[in-house]
Structure formats: C-alpha cells, structure tokens
C-alpha cells in the first residue's frame, strides 16, 4: 500500500501550528482532508461571463447551477456525485444548512445574495449522476474581473485549493491580459491544467481555429503544453437534457469528459500527492521567509525601523498625491475628448438635420386650400419628431467610436495605476519585508447605458400654426411664406438639437469615465488597506 499520502498528511499536521495566517491553516486543513479522502478539486476558473456554471452543468448533465447573462456565481460551489440531489450551505460561522436544490441560488448568486450578505462560506451540491466519477469534485468559482471586486477576491483565494483547473475562455472576446495573468497564478498551483474555449456554437470553425491559434501563442511561454479544447457548454447541456447525441457530439464536451477520466481521475492519487508536495514547499518557504524577516527586523535598530516606516508612509502619501494627478489627467483627457471629438462630429449631425429641410416643400407646398391647416399642424409635428429621432439615431451611431476612445483613455489610466501599485508593493517588500501581493488593477467593464437626449418641448407647432394666418394670402404666396418660416424654424430646432446632443454626450462621457475611475481606484484602496 502506498503510504506517501499518509506521510504527507503527517507533514501537513506538523506544519499547521507553524503557520501564521488563518487562510494558510485552512488551506492545509482542506488539503489534508482531500488527501485522506483521495478527492480532487477540479476548479472551473476564469473571467466572468465565460460560461463556467454552464460548463459544470454540462459535465454533470443537469442544470443544477444557476446560469445567466450578468455576473452570477458569487460563492465557491462544489459539485459532486451523490445518491440524490441535495445542497449543503456552509456559513462563515461554521454551521451548515441543507436546503432544497431549488433554493441554491438564494445563497450562491450575486443577485440574491449581494456582496455575500448571508455570510456563506461555500456550498456543496450533490447530483445523482454517473458522469462524474467519485473522487472528483467540480468546483464552480465566481468570475474574476467584473465590477464585483469581492467576487474576484473569492476566486483568487480559491486558486490555492485547485488541484486541477479547467480555465474557461470564450471565443469572443479573446484572452485578455488580465486572464493571462490569472492563468499564470492558477498554473502555480494546479497540477493539471486545461484551457476550455467556450461558446464555439456562436462562431464559424475558421474563427474558432483562429482564436485557438491566438490563445496558444498568448500562453506559449507560460503553459506551453496545456491542451486547449473548444466546446459549447450550452449545446452540451441542451443535448444532455434532450438526450440528443448529435448536439452532444457537436458540442465538443466529450473531449473534456475524456480528459477528466484519463488525465485526472485515473491519475488522481499522483495528482493529489503532487499538489500536496507543491503546497508544502510553498507553505514551508512562506513560513521560513516570515521568520527570517522577523529575525532581520530584530537585528535592525529601532531608529532604522522607524526610518523605514517613515519612508513607507511618505510613499503612501505620495500615492494619494498621484491620485490627484491622475484625476487631473483624466479631466484633461475628458475635456479634450469633448472638445475635439464633439467639435468635429457635431457639425455632421447639424448637416444631417439641415438636409431634412429638403423634405419640407413636399409637406407644405402640395395640397388643397382646405387641407393647409392640417398640413401645417402635421409639418410642425414632423419637424419635432424627425429631428429628435434623427439625433437619437446619430448619437447611437457615434457611441461605439466614443467607447473606443474612452477605452484608450482608461487603459492609460489603468497602466499608470498599475505602475504606482507595483512601485508601492516593491517598496513594501524592500523596506518592511511584506510579501508582494501582486495586485492587478482590474480592467473596467464597459458600461452599457446609452446617452440620454433630453429636450424641452419646443413650440414649433404653435409657431407654425400662427403662420396659418398667412394662408389667407392669395395663391401660393402664403404657402411659400409658410415654407420659408418652417425652414427657418427647422434650422433653429436643428441648432437646439445639436446643443442637446452635445450636452447629453458630454454627460455620458463624464458618467462613463467616472464609473471606470471608481473601479480602478478601488484596486488602489484594496492595496493600501492590505499594506497599512
């Protein structure tokens, strides 16, 4: 009988009292438990909205986990084979409650348990399925990179418990810098790694092949041998529910199932031993570094320690000053965008609106004497409605280009923040021997709200109606005069619309940038909180 797991378990026990953080102690405890039960954590990790929960559902063949369009999973959820459907919720105070499976979403989703107000530590779901071998637990994790910073924190914390990882990407958008950094972090812990390229049903085989080539290139230097398997988790789940072999075949899920059986299940003991050895090495090194740093601190004079602390405090204060500089730069970029972009774009809107005047003669010049009053009324209404809808449509057409510019501005801002944070963390490491946190500034999610055009109703119609009196002038002269006045009114109204559009887009730009700024600065606050 192989005693290696037993020996490693004993070493973990010896190490436990030497650990200084609760998180590390919990990691050791959980690992010892997995070794004892020969149960592997197969973690499903990735950016939000990549279809992680759908993939877990597809692999067990039932829609047990909630799936959705918005970032949904907020709590680490273990899914394993069991005698019947059940859900056990473990709370942070240590107590556990068994709830009907239909109530699972009340505990694990951001929508029904916002910011984890219910203080849930984890959920364990059992599914009566033969698809998942005993000894393997699929672990659904919250997505990283959404506006819910706490979701990212939970996912990152879980990485150390991932013996095997299914790293989920989607065809569009392709792998981002943040995903690549997260993958590197995952690769430090996971003993087997599989990249799952999800949502292939939405794209052509050629597009999927391109994205696989791109992904392979992006990860080549870090995890060169990592397999990349394309899949449509949704198609697979639909196929499983409907018992439709063609859809299952088309989904690509069988290759992942094969990976789980051949590369994971059959090697699970060796993988667990490898995970335990890896964790023990890291934890021993961390514990040693911490003692050595304290010993070095004891050798340093109190004056020297005070001096170093002063340097550190000064840098933290500088970061606050830099924050003001960053804000100022952002305001300048915003003003430039409003001036330059809107300065060149708004004349095109004005021209488009003025061109509508060409349609006025047909509305006013034709028709009988008796219909003139109705025509004038309809003409006034037409000016208001057409100019307004044309302006709204124009604004919507302009939004994507503006979002690109906003994205470029935010990226510069994000890069500046990342540099400041890296510098501060490096300093904390040098001066205070605090281990580097390697915090990544998140990429903000584009806000999807549209610019809102607000127009005070103009009395165009009334003014035109007052002109109806002119219709009593002989022949077509009255109509000519009405047309001439209507054209002037249209021009005035076009100018007002351009002004309203300028105001609406300006407000929208400011809101977009503020939203992004808030997400980015929250990363700085998190680092400062952790360091001070």
């Amino acid at each position: 009988m192989d005693t290696t797991p037993t020996m490693l378990g004993a070493l973990l026990q010896q190490l436990e009292p030497l650990l200084t953080t609760t998180a590390a102690a919990q990691r050791v405890h959980a690992l010892a438990d997995r070794l004892m039960r020969t149960t592997l954590n197969v973690a499903v990790l990735g950016h939000f909205k990549r279809g992680k929960s759908t993939l877990v559902n597809a692999l067990v063949g039932y829609p047990v986990l909630p799936m959705g369009m918005v970032p949904l999973t907020a709590i680490v959820t273990y899914v394993e084979a069991g005698p019947a459907f059940s859900a056990a919720i473990t709370f942070q105070d240590g107590h556990t409650a068994v709830v009907p499976i239909e109530q699972l979403r009340e505990y694990i989703t951001e929508t029904e348990n916002p910011a984890n107000a219910k203080r849930v530590a984890a959920a364990v779901v059992q599914v009566p399925t033969a698809r998942l071998p005993h000894g393997i637990r699929l672990v659904d994790t919250p997505g990283i990179g959404s506006t819910y910073v706490h979701n990212t924190a939970i996912a990152r914390e879980f990485v150390a418990d991932a013996d095997v990882a299914l790293f989920v990407l989607s065809v569009d958008p392709p792998m981002s810098a943040e995903e690549r950094a997260f993958l590197e972090e995952v690769a430090r812990f996971a003993r087997r790694l599989l990249i799952v390229l999800n949502k292939i049903d939405r794209y052509s085989p050629a597009d999927v092949a391109d994205v696989i080539t791109f992904t392979r290139k992006v990860v080549a230097d870090r995890v060169p041998a990592c397999p990349i398997l394309p899949v449509s988790a949704l198609l697979a789940l639909e196929g499983r529910i409907a018992g439709d072999a063609a859809r299952i075949e088309q989904s690509g899920i069988q290759a992942i199932e094969q990976f789980l059986v051949q590369e994971v299940y059959q090697a699970r003991e060796a993988l667990l031993v490898s995970a335990a050895v890896n964790q023990l090495h890291m934890l021993v090194s961390e514990a040693e570094q911490q003692r050595q740093a304290t010993l070095a601190g004891l050798a340093t004079s109190r004056e020297e320690l005070t001096r170093r602390l002063d340097v550190f405090r000064q840098r933290v204060a500088e970061l606050d000053v830099l924050r003001e500089e960053r804000d100022a730069l952002l305001r300048v970029a915003q003003a430039r965008l409003v001036d330059q972009y809107l300065g060149s774009a708004l004349p095109t809107l004005r021209a488009e609106l003025l061109a509508l005047a060409n349609q006025l003669p047909a509305l006013i010049m034709e028709g009988s004497e008796r219909s003139l009053r109705a025509q004038v009324r309809a003409g006034g209404h037409w000016i208001v409605e057409t100019l307004r809808s044309t302006t709204v449509a124009w604004m919507q057409r302009e939004e994507p280009a503006l979002l690109d510019v906003l994205g470029a501005i935010t990226e510069r801002y994000r890069a500046a923040l990342q540099r400041a944070l890296d510098a501060l963390q490096a300093l904390a490491q040098d001066v205070l021997a605090v281990p580097a946190l390697q915090v990544q500034v998140p990429e903000p999610v584009p806000v999807t709200a549209h610019a809102r055009l607000q127009v005070v109703d103009e009395p165009v119609m009334l003014e035109l109606l007052s002109m109806w009196l002119m219709s009593h002038l002989p022949g077509r002269i009255g109509r000519w005069l009405i047309l001439w006045r209507a054209q002037r009114r249209l021009e005035d109204y076009a100018d007002r619309m351009v002004g309203s559009a300028r105001y609406a887009l300006r407000q929208w730009i400011a809101e977009q940038l503020e939203e992004r700024r808030a997400v980015l600065e929250s990363a700085v606050s998190a680092v400062l909180e952790a360091l001070t």
Binding site: L15, V277, L280, L295
Partner: protein, 45 residues
C-alpha cells in the same frame, strides 16, 4: 517579567527553533518525494 531585551532574545530563540522545525519538515518532504520516485522506478522495473 521580562524586560525589552530579554523579550527580544526570547523571540529570537523561538524563531530560530521554528526555523529548525521548518527545515526538518523540508528535509522530510524531500525524503517523501525521492522515496515516492524510487517506488515508482521500482514499480516500473
């Protein structure tokens, strides 16, 4: 009660003892790893 210097000396002794324990764990870990490798080689033979 220990004065400041005694407390520092006691802490230093404790930290060194803990480092020695960690070193032992590391050595035992190396032993488990190479033992496991030897067992695997033997199995293959």
């Amino acid at each position: 009660m220990l004065d400041g210097e005694d407390a520092v000396a006691a802490l230093r002794v404790r930290l060194q003892a803990e480092l020695a324990q960690l070193e032992q764990i590391r050595a035992a870990l190396e032993g488990v790893v190479s033992g496991g490798q030897q067992a695997t080689v033997a199995e293959k033979r």
